[in-house]
Amino acid sequence: MSATTVDLAHAGAATRRPSYLTRLRARPPGVLVGGGIVLLLVLIALLAPVLAPYSATDGAISQRLWNVGTIGHSLGTDGQGRDILSRLIWGARPTLVAGVVPVAIAGILGTLLGIVAGLGRTGVRSGIMRTLDVLYAFPAILLAIAIGAALGPGVNNAIISLSIVLIAPIARVAESEVLRLRAADFMEAARASGASWPTIALRQVVPNIAPALLVYCTSLVGLAIVYAAGLSFLGLGVVPPHPDWGGMLNDLRANLYDRPLLALVPAFAIFIASIAFNVLGDGLKQLFDVHEGSAA
């Protein structure tokens, strides 16, 4: 018998687990492209004081509304003569913060609610999920505007309102992942070995639902950036004169007919940032091998 056991042991040694690094080198272009752009955005935001050629808040009225391609102001100037490139670079900061922070907050709260709902009794689950369904019933951007308007303008309030909006979808994904996991044999095995529900939630549930949630949250960042820009566009986000892509879009909208290219600059920046996070999310899905449908 012992000889057979040793053979079994060696049979196991043949299969080596490919590390994430190996898989990263091998495949998903989404991670490289999306991740690359995201990394670039982060660097731009961090190095804004070094990179921005002019002040983001002070302009010269004499230089107002110079078009894209003007020498010295390559992306033009806005209605108050401020350099658009500089404002774009500084504006990367609130844009990223308003994209990532609400998703992080909602990610933690939503996952917690989803786990409690998924592991809890039918009554607890219905209570949590039906309450969240009420939030879900409103169009997300409308709800964000309503909460944002109630709280008043400012980055912090925009973050709060977006966090509330994003809790419901994240909790829903977390709950469905937990329910899928609940059927797994190792959950029962953990119970049969004496583990309590909190232990199981921490040791078994969180690690096993983490990839799917990470993928989903990454693509939600793209959405949050668009929503945050929308709030700023409506004057509910970053307070002027501080630069923000949504606010810039609103400023330059006034000159859409005489200087159409200028408004396109922040619009394009929002578009690129949002797409980058979505592409990164798709790439991570391949990297983590998250099955289709679970993160949708």
Partner: protein, 357 residues
């Protein structure tokens, strides 16, 4: 001042039995398991009695869907609130069906161990084997110190026949073969030296040669640790190999109990006889196997309380069988069977004779 923990600890220790205890360790009386569904209640187990003795193996035998696994899980109260338990399950002197949840989860994995059916699914795919064994050791305070617990874990792996323990401790479940994973699941189940071990079809997912090794391991461990073993299986061969006593289950009830050799050689119930006839053996010509016609009643089918559940499938059944449920009666010393019609040993021809007839 005794903290809450101390109180709990004493309670769990009260229940722990002495190693030299040869009495009945676990007694199940009139166990009923009822699931509430939207369509109504499903009675999966309808009154089952048996007891487990230290150092002895009881095999729960029956087709799929007869309530064997439900019985095994209900002992550990793994269904939580989704199932209603009736009757009584006693561990030593302690009633488990009414025990508080905290003490119950302290018993799980410590005093009562469980080996799951499918070793591939029952280990957490994201954590190394060693971490999973150490977790159980620490949870039940066998060895709270991490590095020391790892040494014990290595010893446990050696104990279940894994000689490459250091490498296996670092491995993830998917890196190991099915037989290895089942050995690890067994190591986890016996980590806290349980008094009772419940194994739910522990060899069904394994190939035949590994099955024999794992079953042999079970009997060795049982002897060494003086455990009471409850083994659930649908395999008559497995029953004969490991069982001391056997309890044959059909439609949520016991239809026959007794010593393994006696029951399998001279069955007193037509269902047991049917299981034996349906077992393929070397030398039986093609086509000679006799299957029991039909299938057990499904969860959505009504089973009358005052009828023999086997009647629609039974060759011996008469009109009386659908109006009267026969009780378990002694058909031979120590052997009980629930059939009035046969009332003794089921008359059988061997499959070979049947083939020539």
């Amino acid at each position: 001042m005794p903290g809450r923990d101390t109180i709990r600890r004493t309670r769990a220790e009260d229940i722990t039995l002495r190693a030299d205890d040869t009495r009945q360790v676990l007694t199940v009386e009139g166990l009923e398991v009822t699931f509430k569904r939207r369509q109504g209640e499903i009675k999966a187990v309808r009154g089952v009695d048996f007891s487990l003795t230290a150092g002895r193996t009881l095999v729960l035998l029956g087709e799929s869907g007869c309530g064997k696994s439900v019985t095994a899980r209900a002992i550990l109260r793994l269904y939580g609130r989704s199932a209603r338990l009736g009757g009584s399950v006693r561990l030593g002197e302690t009633e488990l069906t009414t025990l508080d949840d905290t003490t119950m989860s302290q018993l799980r994995g410590a005093t009562i161990g469980m080996v799951p059916q499918d070793p591939s699914g029952s280990l957490d795919p994201l954590r190394a084997v060693g971490a999973q064994i150490v977790e159980v050791l620490r949870r039940h305070d066998v060895e709270p110190d991490g590095p020391k617990a790892r040494v014990i874990a290595a010893g446990l792996l050696e104990r279940v026949g894994i000689h490459d323990s250091q490498r296996v401790l670092r491995s993830f479940p998917f890196e190991l073969s099915g037989g290895m994973r089942q050995r690890i699941a067994i190591a986890i189940a016996i980590a806290c030296r349980p008094r009772v071990l419940i194994a739910d079809e522990p060899t069904t997912a394994l190939d035949v040669t590994v099955q024999a090794q794992v079953l042999k391991l079970f009997t060795e461990l049982q002897r060494d640790l003086n455990m009471a073993l409850l083994l659930v299986t649908h395999d008559v061969g497995v029953t004969r190999f490991v069982g001391d006593e056997v309890a044959v289950m059909y439609a949520g009830r016991l239809v026959e109990t007794g010593p393994v050799g006696q029951v399998l050689d001279r069955p007193g119930h037509p269902y047991t006889a049917g299981l034996l006839d349906a077992m393929p053996l070397p030398g039986i010509p093609r086509g000679a196997l006799r299957a029991i016609p039909g299938r057990p009643p499904g969860s959505d089918e009504h089973v009358a309380d005052d009828a023999c559940a086997l009647a629609p499938r039974c060759a011996f059944a008469n009109a009386e069988c659908s109006h009267h449920r026969p009780p378990l009666i002694e058909v031979a010393p120590g052997q009980l069977a629930a059939c009035d019609v046969v009332g003794g040993v089921v008359p059988r021809s061997t499959p070979l004779e049947a083939a020539h007839a």
